[in-house]
Subunit: 366 residues, 2 copies
């Protein structure tokens, strides 16, 4: 399958794979797709450099990209300590009570929590970009709003295409006005931050709103039939995130979480503010239930919620406390029922795509 | 476009149109689709008979069907008065206060409220079926659960296919076990009662769950591209409801409501219990906001909520009190921006379908 965008990028399939794991990103690009490494967890430039070195060495001649989280609104001079100070005691107590209720052990001394708010701050994202532009990345994606104008210009100076996620046509038009090159239309069914509009409606709406800019459909896609559907809706490619979580190349550091993902049905996710303060689809757990319970204190706005729960989430993950153990994932989790290699996922995507085209041509009498 | 199901029913396009308006149902079937008349508003058998007479006289030789609302759980001997008695005074007061706040006038003396709970009761639905089986209907659809076994058997004795709506694969398998012939997979983005799973994920899941039973995709579909996407996902046809509301043949009895529908964006609907007590997608209004407000008394379970608000909804509709005026409708409302005839809708559906097939064949290199 070839679209204008896949030809431009020189890839075999217009399948973009977002992943926090360098091994998965490399495998996606080697399989003929386009691997995009999520940078949010790299708060230290050296760690990002180390993983980009590895990715660059293992991706062969295939292109790859980087996904950063650069908030649209810049907050100058605000430190993590300033944000910490804004968190009410009631919410801190609620975290401790919920962890205690489920007997979640502490982290070891000096063990850092894995997920830090700082990865969401513009200065950190700019540091990631400084590192990444030393590598031959071909795409820079931003998961929160349009990147600042100087970042778009800098990417373009390096011949790097800029993509941004949008949950509505209005949002997509703002990206287009900001000079970005590709819009990722992120439907309600997607994992992570999502809006209310489902892919069936959102994809064509965004395609028409930003025409002639290319649109990638995201949300609910994990099989070849769904790739065919997304392309029929007018997308120039698909953006998949969830489906890689249960590939053999992924390293969740938690057999219990992998088991939960493999067992979950499409109805076992929830769009909750529990993780970041903004609605993000994730596995529904006792943890999300506690935050979404009207009897509790409720969640705090971004970025307070993320900072509030960072250590708790690390404790839950490290100790694999099953009832609380979750991860951002989309409704496609219902079809992630066996561990497969990235290549096996691609084999199904392309075979299923061809079968869907055969079927729809029979229906169309062609 | 032809699928096994459209061939079996002898229709030109596998496009099923649900509508409360006989003129729309007739136009859908005449345009080569399959018109399905919603029966829920017919509490008097004579009124249904009158409208089926009209439909039968205006549909030509084309097939058509009936949609009833038959709850899965039978409640013997319960009258409307019994249900009335279960409604708390607090909720009745809230209705009156909300109406008063917006200056909603009373109905005239003797003027009945249009939407009655009784249309949702099994004895009423059975009465509708008694009437309908005197007509050459080819399809009986049930919007709430599987129809009772004797109803399925009776329909089959009359060579009437039975369809049922499902919001999950589990729900769909129950329908298959109950002996129904067609499953309508109703995605999150659909108008009226919906579940949480969006069409991109739900359609293939239901297709696989009930194979080889035919599945119609419902939710978010109103253009030819979306028909192509739904068929690529494995559906044997599509089930459209919202898109007919702004056709010239529809008779909403409210220019203000038509204006609101034409102006609404895809983000202007909400999945709320305000109308029936079960989550149903509808235009978001001050009325739904009031019921969904945590500071209010909240909604009552089905069937209490429907009975509680029936007269209020009639008053709002009759007097076209714009801030409160709504209707069940799906996210596709964002693309319903001009009044069109049913034939014009079909012209776009078929033309857009062919264009989507052309496009996807180019992408597939065929």
């Amino acid at each position: 399958m070839q679209t204008e965008l896949s030809k431009k990028l020189g890839i075999e399939h217009p399948v973009f794979g977002f992943t926090p794991f360098p091994a998965v990103a490399a495998a996606i690009s080697r399989a003929g797709g386009f691997g995009v490494l999520g940078a949010v967890r790299y708060t230290a430039p050296d760690e990002l450099k180390r993983d980009l070195d590895w990715l660059d060495a293992h991706v062969g001649d295939h292109p790859y990209g980087l996904d950063v989280v650069m908030p649209a609104k810049k907050v100058d001079g605000v430190t993590e300590a300033d944000v910490e100070a804004m968190i009410p005691q009631e919410h801190r107590r609620f975290v401790q009570e919920t962890l205690a209720e489920h007997g979640v052990p502490e982290l070891d001394d000096g063990e850092a929590s894995g997920w830090r708010i700082t990865g969401w701050m513009e200065q950190v994202a700019r540091g990631q970009l400084d590192v990444a532009l030393d590598y031959p990345i071909k795409l820079l994606a931003n998961a929160l709003g349009s990147p600042p104008a100087d970042v778009v210009a800098r990417a373009h100076d390096h011949d790097v295409l800029v993509a941004a996620l949008a949950g509505s046509a209005r949002h997509a038009r703002k990206h287009a006005d900001a000079g970005i090159d590709i819009v990722v239309a992120q439907g309600y069914e997607a994992g992570g931050h999502t809006g209310e509009i489902a892919s069936m409606v959102l994809t064509p709406e965004v395609v028409d709103a930003v025409d002639p800019l290319p649109v990638l459909a995201a949300g609910g896609i994990g099989s070849g039939r769904q790739v065919a559907a997304a392309l029929a809706l007018g997308a120039q490619g698909v953006w998949l995130g969830s489906v890689w979580l249960t590939t053999t190349e992924a390293d969740l550091h938690s057999p219990a979480l992998t088991r939960k993902l493999l067992a979950a049905g499409s109805g076992d996710t929830v769009r909750s503010r529990a993780l970041t303060g903004k609605p993000a689809r994730q596995l529904r757990t006792r943890w999300t239930d506690a935050w979404d319970d009207p009897a509790g204190p409720g969640t705090l706005p971004m970025p307070l919620q993320g900072l509030l729960v960072a250590e708790a989430v690390s404790r839950i993950q490290k100790h694999e406390v099953e009832p609380l153990l979750g991860t951002p994932v989309g409704q496609i989790v219902g079809r992630m029922n066996a561990e497969r290699s990235v290549q096996e996922v691609f084999d199904e995507l392309t075979r299923g795509f061809e079968q869907a085209i055969d079927r729809i041509n029979r229906i169309a009498g062609r």
